[in-house]
């Protein structure tokens, strides 16, 4: 009996280990992708530009911001405290367990892809700016209040005003409606495009910011 029990235990371990070898990963098949799909569906995958600005301002512990645009665009203008990284470089980074990662690119597509890759790699706290650099400029650096603001526009502007000043931006009121930036936050379907971002960055550069 003295040698029989260890032998039985060893056999059980062998069976379980061979099963593990065949199973491959310790997750029910498809579970990870389903969980990610649910996160995307619930819109827990992105952070708004004003929220990110508040995180930076209050020194959110573990916050790491990554700019996925071309190096020249990063050098021209980037979100305060952001680090420039390529997609491959991002996946090679060793991030501490408590890191809060925020990704942004020009619009949202590239950073959404990076979000998916990082989450699939097991990084837990990851968000991206849905309209990227354009959203940062439109909602934090250069918030604009139209002459005839709706209550929602006024509320958005009141939040953005101190943030814009904190980050050295130029908030404007009484702006013609045609010049107020639009995006998902105004209910508009327009998306950030290269000319729109370049135009906004160019305007800031001319101002010498």
């Amino acid at each position: 009996m003295r040698t029989l029990t260890p032998r039985r235990l060893a056999m059980a371990a062998v069976v379980l280990a061979l099963g593990a070898l065949a199973a491959g990963e310790p997750r029910p098949p498809g579970q990870d992708l389903m969980a990610l799909a649910a996160e995307i569906e619930a819109e827990r995958d992105h952070v708004s530009a004003p929220e990110l600005a508040q995180w930076i301002r209050r020194g959110e512990p573990g916050l790491r911001i990554f700019d996925l645009r071309a190096r020249a665009e990063y050098d021209e203008l980037h979100v305060a405290g952001a680090e420039w990284v390529t997609l491959e470089g991002l996946l090679r980074l060793s991030l501490p367990g408590d890191a809060k990662v925020v990704l942004y690119s020009e619009g949202g597509a590239h950073s959404a892809q990076a979000w998916l890759l990082l989450r699939a790699r097991g990084v837990r706290a990851v968000w991206f700016l849905r309209e990227g650099m354009y959203e940062w400029i439109a909602r934090v650096l250069e918030p604009r209040l139209p002459r005839d603001p709706s209550p929602a526009e006024q509320a958005e502007y009141d939040v953005a005003l101190p943030l814009s000043r904190y980050f050295g931006g130029v908030p404007r009121r009484d702006v013609p409606r045609a010049q107020v930036p639009t995006g998902y936050w105004t209910g508009s379907e327009t998306r950030a495009t290269t000319p729109r971002v370049a135009e906004a960055v160019g305007r800031i550069r001319r101002r010498g910011c």
């Binding site: 260890p6 235990l9 060893a10 371990a13 062998v14 379980l16 280990a17 061979l18 099963g19 593990a20 070898l21 065949a22 199973a23 491959g24 990963e25 310790p26 997750r27 029910p28 579970q31 969980a35 060793s94 991030l95 501490p96 367990g97 790699r121 097991g122 837990r124």
Partner: protein, 196 residues
């Protein structure tokens, strides 16, 4: 919570699990004979490999359990805390821990077990351990830069080696079983394990 099984115990019940697990851990250490310094020290001279056998079999049990509980959807491994790796500080800690272990013939857990089973040297090691904790806390501002050095994040072997988790589980189980067989042979050469 480090093992998010689908059990909603609530805060007080969760706090109770710590002493229960602690007593169980101590009980098994004591029953394995690990409250005896001579037995523990004999490990380092390859005369009695009980420590290796007990701890490696615990590791294999936990590994196989975690793998299959995860695979069956009973344990969300994504929520299990993986301690971060700090290469140099942890190497230095390992050397200090090992030196203390071989010198005293007891480690922190087994020193508590030794004292609980009536050995005064167990208490001496416990007090030494607490003095070490106090000393470290006092020197912490000086040591913090070193403690934060060579951070590698939360690494796991499958990520580090780029191999499927199942392959590693099988390999580690094979190493353990081979190691146990070898340990038994070595012990047989030295006429069995030390009686306690």
């Amino acid at each position: 919570m480090s093992a998010p099984l689908p059990l909603d115990l609530g805060e007080p019940a969760l706090l109770l699990t710590a002493p229960v697990l602690g007593f169980a851990f101590g009980w098994f250490l004591e029953r394995s004979g690990l409250g005896h310094p001579a037995k523990l020290a004999a490990q380092f001279y390859l005369r009695d490999l009980t420590v290796f056998k007990v701890l490696f079999s615990a590791l294999v049990t936990a590994m196989l359990g975690a793998f299959w509980l995860g695979r069956l959807g009973l344990l969300d491994l994504g929520r299990v805390y993986v301690p971060e790796t700090f290469l140099l500080p942890q190497l230095a800690g390992g050397v200090i821990f090992g030196s203390g272990f071989v010198l005293a013939g007891l480690c922190p857990g087994t020193s508590c077990v030794a004292w609980a089973s009536g050995r005064w040297d167990g208490l001496a090691v416990m007090l030494g351990m607490l003095a070490g904790v106090l000393g470290y806390m006092l020197a912490q501002p000086l040591l913090q830069p070193f403690a934060d050095a060579t951070s590698r994040g939360s690494v796991t072997l499958p990520h580090l080696l780029h191999v499927p988790t199942g392959l590693l589980v099988a390999a580690i189980t094979a190493i353990a079983l081979g190691g146990f067989a070898l340990a038994e042979r070595i012990e047989a050469k030295h006429a069995g394990v030390l009686e306690h």
